[in-house]
Amino acid sequence: MLEETVEAARQVPDPAARPSGSTAIDVRGLWKIFGPRADRVLNGPDIHLDPNALLEKTGCTAAVRDVTFEVRAGEMFVVMGLSGSGKSTLVRCLTRLIEPTAGKIHIAGEDVCSASPAALRELRRHRVSMVFQHFGLLPHRRVVDNVAYGLEIQRVPKAERHRRAEEILSLVGLAGHAQSYPDQLSGGMQQRVGLARALAVDPQVMLFDEPFSALDPLIRRDMQAEVVRLHRDVGKTMVFITHDLSEALKLGQRIAIMRDGAVVQLGTPEELVAAPADDYVADFVRDVAKSEVLSLRWICRTPAENEHLDGPVMNAETIIKDAVPAVLGSARPIRVVEGGSLVGVVDRLDILAAMAARPERPRPGSRSRS
């Protein structure tokens, strides 16, 4: 009885079927094939070849392969993968900066793929904006005019767009730099300008294509914190591309891992670390300090016959690391509860094993999705 409960707690629910708020972005069966006669390749038999063979045989690259996912309104959705796995292509397909080869995309219910050029422009102007790895600032414009660029495109009068730009600049901590030129700012500050430019049009959705890869580690950490803060404060839907796992884990509410154009696993950081879908993902998460990501749910076990069930009580959501003081302070195993009912116990040995990250213990539900 208890065993079943433990198993049930460990089951990873299907992310697509998760109870959720309204859907901000809905992508179904998206393909992008670069190269000559992409359509023919898509519908032909060659499409199942591996990337190198496909390129050799047809001259095409399938940068995005049959990708399906949903992003809920207000969610921070991270896409990660190695270089060349198709992340940038995927995110550009969302607003058709790159024309998808096949598939359906809906943003806030609107069908992006069949949108007219004018409708598409409207979408880009008001609803979705993007932050780029190499900033893409206009060197001949002052910071304030860079930030106001999106509004200028919408023909907002100068006074008003400047007012709005100044507002956004102080939001990203660049209040004093409105009159500077981009090349007078440091890399981190330039990316803040990029961020401000994307924010200035007050979009519902923000897309980030590896925005911090070009920054050095300290500044990157600041910027990540900045994005987390913004996400909390302004509550936008965000799609964040990165190739850095720690960034993904830090920011993402859900993470999609891409490989050769396809999504190989989609889940919460915890799910990815605890139950990698295949060796590729496992490889990615190998070096993660599991005790900092996983919760007690993943290491609790059915109590042994003679174990005392009167130790401290902790919630199943508790991160392992945070359970350390409790388990050290008590000789009895911790009772892990969820929704008021006991789901298992955890003792010092369990915690220690998890902190030492021995592979046998902390991979309970190692299921592989095919």
Binding site: T95, L97, L120, R121, E122, L123, R124, R125, H126, V128, S129, M130, F132, Q133, H134, F135, G136, L137, L138, P139, H140, R141, Y149, G150, E152, I153, Q154, Y181, G194, R197, V201
Partner: protein, 649 residues
């Protein structure tokens, strides 16, 4: 290239092996060429004087071209092509020139100078204002104010039209790879073609006068406008464009707010190059009756009178400098334009005010007549250095020019053709070889064999001298950084001068002879060659040089066994560049006694009965150019003249 070469200095000279280790060794590399030369010499001795193609002023192609000209003249007002297109173009362009010219001439001279200075102030502040103002004032001081204004009008008209056509095309080409691929070959042809070649067709279609001079100038000055603009637009950061599109900008908004501002600096360079190219056509355009400074220079050249040419030549150079600074100053980023309106306004107002006070014509008493003293100086130089210049001239003429020319003109045509074929095949392969052969035969068919051989002689001698000088100076510069630092600015300056300037000292020193053209071409072509050689040798990786030195090479061994072989491409490129430039100059040299094709071209425009010959000679210069280019094509891709110039700018 030659990895073994780097070690060879350390190896002692190979001991004469008693037994050949590889009995089936191939023939030494020099055998084939030696046999080839010997065979050619034998054939020459046997067949010399036969199958030559002496020049005939009444050759059939010339007469045919004269008839074509006559037919065009007769049908100018009936043929629909002329009636509905060309005549309108001629009237339109001529009208524009007249308007610009009238406008400029209507400005009193103090106003023109002051307005230019004011524009300079606006663009770049005090220093630019000074350069621009002084540059324009020099026209008056040199006594050529009216002619300068004519030249300015022609240049501005041509530049205006070039930019009107060139900038949009360039932007288009910059954004569309297909368009770029479509127009690149056309631009290549326009740039390689010696300017002389299209004067004939211009005259045929647009008659002699400012309209055809404008069009000829445009053909020469449009390619940089298009190419550099395309380059500028192409180089705009793709992320910036993407960012703009991602915010919902239309194509037009992105063009106006991203492409153009970000490409502005480079586009300014395009404008600048267009102006410089147009200015360097001034003299050539004068051959088809363009008004202005060019005609003074032509007059001076044909009379071997440096005193007449010098003021005009200097005025062109100063105009170039003034316009260059003016245009380039506008490219400076974020200059505080606003704060300069006041000073510029004051300057302009002062100039206009002065023009009410000062005489309408630039007063003669304020001129500085440099003609007579220059003539005196030239005369003094000619007599004082007579022995030296005469000796140089004679050695070159008797030792190089005459024998080579005799050889070429007394050989049977088929022998020359054969030699070209074999040579081109060995250096560049079969296709270029047959192209070269085709060009040579076409020259013969045009009836210009003998004159082409004369021109070829001058070109070959000039190229050899250019390469010798270029290699020597280039190596010196590569070896001694101090010397290089001295030489660089000189080379930079030399490369921005219009070609004909080099005729001035040549003429002063050597009078009108064939050697004059050779000397001028060498001086003209040496700077780029030096630069290429220097860069090539400096481009040899430091590690290779160190490896050679550490194995005990002497500097000489280093040069011959490492640096020259490894800089081979750069040196071949230099040779190729030298040939193209020399050819252009030698043709201009037809004006100062080089004879050959250049002279034919010039007389084609001055005598109506020689029109056909001039036209054909223009075509022959193109053919010769292609032939020489194909023979030396071994030097893979060579940079276009634009890239050459851009590097200095």
């Amino acid at each position: 290239m030659t990895a073994q070469a780097t070690v060879s200095p350390a190896v002692p000279p190979a001991p004469p092996p008693a037994v050949r280790r590889r009995p089936r060794e191939r023939l030494p590399r020099f055998v084939l060429p030696v046999v080839g030369v010997a065979v050619a010499a034998g054939l020459y001795l046997v067949f010399r004087g036969t199958a030559t193609l002496p020049h005939d002023d009444g050759a059939a192609p010339f007469l045919f071209l004269n008839d074509v000209r006559d037919w065009v003249d007769d049908n100018r007002n009936e043929n629909p092509l002329f009636l509905y297109l060309i005549n309108y173009l001629r009237l339109g362009i001529g009208g524009l020139f007249d308007a610009v010219s009238a406008g400029l001439h209507a400005l009193p001279w103090p106003a023109l100078i002051a307005l230019t200075a004011a524009a300079g102030w606006l663009a770049g502040g005090r220093r630019v204002a000074l350069v621009a103002g002084l540059g324009f004032a020099s026209f008056g001081v040199l006594g050529v104010f009216a002619a300068s204004v004519d030249t300015l009008a022609l240049t501005l008209t041509a530049v205006l039209l070039s930019l009107l056509v060139g900038l949009p095309l360039g932007v288009w080409a910059g954004r569309s790879r297909r368009v770029r691929r479509l127009i690149t070959p056309a631009l290549d042809v326009m740039q390689i073609m010696p300017t002389f070649a299209y004067l004939g067709p211009m005259v045929l279609f647009f008659q002699i006068g400012p309209a055809s001079a404008t069009v000829a100038t445009m053909i020469y000055s449009i390619p940089p406008a298009i190419r550099i603009t395309a380059l500028a637009v192409e180089q705009v950061s793709p992320t910036a464009i993407e960012a703009s599109v991602s915010l919902g900008a239309t194509r037009w908004q992105t063009l106006r707010k991203v492409h153009l501002p970000m490409a502005r600096r480079t586009i300014t360079l395009a404008v600048n190059q267009t102006i410089m190219m147009a200015l360097s056509m001034v003299v050539i355009a004068a051959l088809i009756a363009a008004p202005g400074l060019g005609s003074d220079i032509i007059r001076g050249l044909s009379r071997a009178n440096v005193g007449v040419m010098l003021p005009a030549g200097l005025a062109i150079v100063f105009m170039g400098i003034a316009l260059d600074r003016l245009v380039m100053a506008t490219a400076a980023p974020r200059s505080p334009r606003r704060s300069r309106y006041g000073a510029a306004g004051v300057l302009a107002a002062a100039g206009i005010g002065l023009s009410f006070v000062l005489p309408a014509e630039y007063p003669e008493s304020w001129e500085w007549r440099i003609g007579p003293p220059v003539d005196d100086a030239v005369r003094w130089m000619q007599s004082a250095w007579y022995d030296v210049t005469e000796a140089i001239k004679n050695i070159a003429t008797e030792g190089l020019l005459n024998p080579l020319q005799n050889l070429l003109t007394s050989s049977p045509w088929w022998l020359v053709a054969l030699a070209v074929l074999v040579l081109a095949w060995r250096v560049s392969g079969a296709v270029p070889a047959f192209t070269a052969l085709g060009c040579l035969l076409a020259v013969a068919l045009l009836g210009l064999w003998e004159h082409s051989m004369e021109t070829l002689t001058t070109v070959l001698v000039a190229v050899v001298l250019t390469l010798l000088a270029g290699l020597a100076l280039g190596v010196a510069a590569a070896r001694h950084p101090r010397y290089a630092a001295l030489q660089r600015p000189l080379l930079d300056a030399a490369q921005t001068m219009p070609a004909f300037i080099y005729l001035l000292p040549a003429l002063a020193l050597f009078g009108t002879t064939r050697f004059t053209a050779v000397f001028a071409s060498v001086v003209y072509a040496v700077p780029p060659v030096v630069r290429l050689v220097e860069d090539g040798i400096k481009g040899v990786p430091q590690t290779v040089v160190e490896a050679a030195l550490s194995s005990g090479s002497t500097t000489r061994q280093l040069l011959w066994k490492v640096q020259f072989p490894m800089a081979r491409r750069a040196i071949l490129l230099a040779a190729n560049q030298g040939i193209v430039m020399t050819l252009a100059m030698v043709v201009v040299g037809g004006l100062v006694g080089a004879g050959g094709l250049g002279f034919d071209v010039v007389s084609g425009f001055s005598q109506s009965s020689d029109f056909g010959m001039g036209f054909a000679a223009g075509a022959a210069t193109v053919l010769l150019g292609i032939m020489l280019d194909r023979i030396t094509q071994g030097a893979e891709r060579r940079p276009s003249p634009q890239q050459q110039k851009m590097r200095i700018a």
